[in-house]
Amino acid sequence: MSGVMLRQVVKAYGPIVVIPELDLSIAEGEFVVIVGPSGCGKSTTLRMIAGLETVSGGSIFIADKDVTYAPPKARDIAMVFQSYALYPHMNVAGNMSFALRLAGTPKAEIEERVRRAADMLELTPYLDRKPKDLSGGQRQRVAMGRSIVRDAYCFLFDEPLSNLDAKLRATMRTELALLHKRLERTMVYVTHDQIEAMTMADRIVIMDKGIIQQVGTPREVYTAPENLFVAGFIGSPSMNLLQGEIADQAGDLRVRGAGFDLPIPQRMKTRATGARSRDVVVGLRPEHFSASDSGDGDLAPIRLEVDVAEYIGSSQFLAAMVGEEHVTASVDVGPDAAPLASGDYFFDADRLYLFDRASGQAL
């Protein structure tokens, strides 16, 4: 299979193992986002693919070629850095054409390719400017232009949007997704922002402590997190995780804890039966709380002691207590509702998650 393949890749700095053993296959033309908290090894992984970091073990294949020990320039990759890393002494055209000039590409072709990339990124009026005369968003686009001009097999992005303000970030996200559609190239994108991961990725790789926690489409990692880490990481605001216990009440499986008693959905029954009277962690996503019993779904009552209700427009964020534990709930009550107070709310029990408390794995 072509694309990018990491096979049993290990990275250690002396005695400190950063990435114990990593296997990952990225299909050709796929947009994969590696996401995780800082220090999880995602950037290191990307830099190993780029060849900027040596591997301590295992092998890396790009387009079926073993590039484990190949220098970056032999890997047919282009990379966009978090800080853009534009050459300050070159103008925009110079920045974009640098790689081609090094490769000895004919002048006419360089001009043509720079022109095309500049058109695509709306940078044509700025070709003569130096990076310092550009805005953050423009610099970002130059950095992308630099990779596009290369027409590399694989594009690597190292948190390219983290220096932009929120609005620009949203715009660039769309542009990046469009770019991927147009270029149809393999793209590996590293970020700590799960929103970026969810919106752009074909597949998401969630990493923690150098270990891949789960690989899947955005829908898969949201709807079926394989362990507590993924459950807590994906979703915004993040999932509430409460201590509970599975109880069999006359054939009716329920999960109970301090302040709640929820039915276990049909799809989990068989697995939950095996875990009867075991300690579990219950995952409740904030967005699956509601204020009233609308009838659809499998709504179960749950009592919330509301500390603060934050108005954010059509819904309200509640910082509340269930029993002894803090939870967040995002309740859709429309923009005109009064601040919500403590009381009986409902949770869509069909969407609750159960994890084994000891192993952290999903049941």
Binding site: L52, P71, M79, Q82, A85, P88, H89, L102, K132
Partner: protein, 279 residues
């Protein structure tokens, strides 16, 4: 309102007045040097010093340019100063780059210790330097002087260039590597253009010190290897000090470093790295 304007006007006057006084203090010795070089001996030793209005003579210049060994001293000085400046920048640059980019035990100590070496005045080194050189009978060799000046200038150059290299983000080099640049291309096409100002500053300092240094040059050179400052001191004789000729020589000595500084200062463009990385 008019009061405020008056205030700002007098502020400007005070500002420029202060600057003029400072400039005068700086320029006076230079003027004394130039004017003395244009006077004959009688005028120099005249009881009432003449500052501006006198009949200039070129006889001092004529003497040192035709009858002295000026051309030889000049050649020696140029060789020693340019060579040691080049060596300082080359070696200091490599060292600074290594200090800025690699991690090794005691890196910080080395970086700071270089500056400590700089604190030693050259005069302290004169005697041991002479003893060393005499042991190996290497006096009267321009290479030795070049070597000492390089050694003398290296700590400051390393320390200065270290700071400049630290300002260049590693990612720029990585971007160039990903773009397909070889290590030499990274250095010459990305780093060096950004380091221009750093090298220019270090170069100006190194050249100036090597050009003007007197004590080591006096001890380590002979008849054939004398540099300009030592040559100028040659006019201090048993029979008296030939001020006119010393000053004429001094005036000529100033010119090359002045040209060098103007050339080097053109490379200093502040804020070259601004915009490389969003900051």
């Amino acid at each position: 309102m008019s009061n405020g304007r008056l205030d700002s006007a007098s502020k400007v006057w005070m500002h420029y007045g202060g600057l003029i006084i400072l400039a005068a203090i700086c320029l006076m010795p230079i003027w004394v040097m130039i004017s003395t070089s244009l006077k004959n001996e009688v005028l120099i030793f005249d009881g009432t010093p003449v500052w501006f209005f006198f009949f200039p003579t070129m006889e001092n210049y004529e003497y040192i340019l035709t009858r002295g060994k000026f051309d030889r001293y000049l050649t020696n000085s140029i060789i020693v100063a340019t060579l040691s400046t080049f060596l300082t920048l080359f070696l200091g640059g490599l060292c600074a780059y290594a200090l800025a980019r690699t991690e090794f035990r005691g890196r910080r100590f080395v970086a700071n210790a270089t500056l400590l070496v700089r604190m030693v005045p050259p005069a302290v080194l004169a005697v041991p330097a002479f003893a060393m050189v005499a042991t190996f009978s290497l006096n009267n060799d321009l290479a030795v002087l070049t070597f000492f000046y390089t050694a003398l200038n290296l700590p400051f150059a390393i320390w200065l260039l270290f700071g400049f290299y630290k300002q260049i983000p590693v990612e720029l080099e990585e971007a160039a590597i990903v773009d397909g640049a070889s290590p030499l291309q990274v250095f010459f096409r990305v780093l060096l253009p950004l380091m221009k100002s750093g090298y220019a500053v270090a170069g100006i300092f190194a050249f100036r010190i090597a050009w003007n240094e007197f004590i080591l040059a006096l001890l380590l050179t002979g008849r054939k290897t004398r540099t300009l400052p030592v040559g100028a001191a040659g006019f201090i004789t048993d029979t008296g000090v030939e001020w006119g000729r010393i000053m004429a020589m001094g005036t000529l000595i100033v010119i090359p470093p002045l040209l060098f500084t103007f050339f080097a200062a053109r490379q200093i463009i502040a804020g070259m790295t601004a915009g490389a990385v969003k900051g």
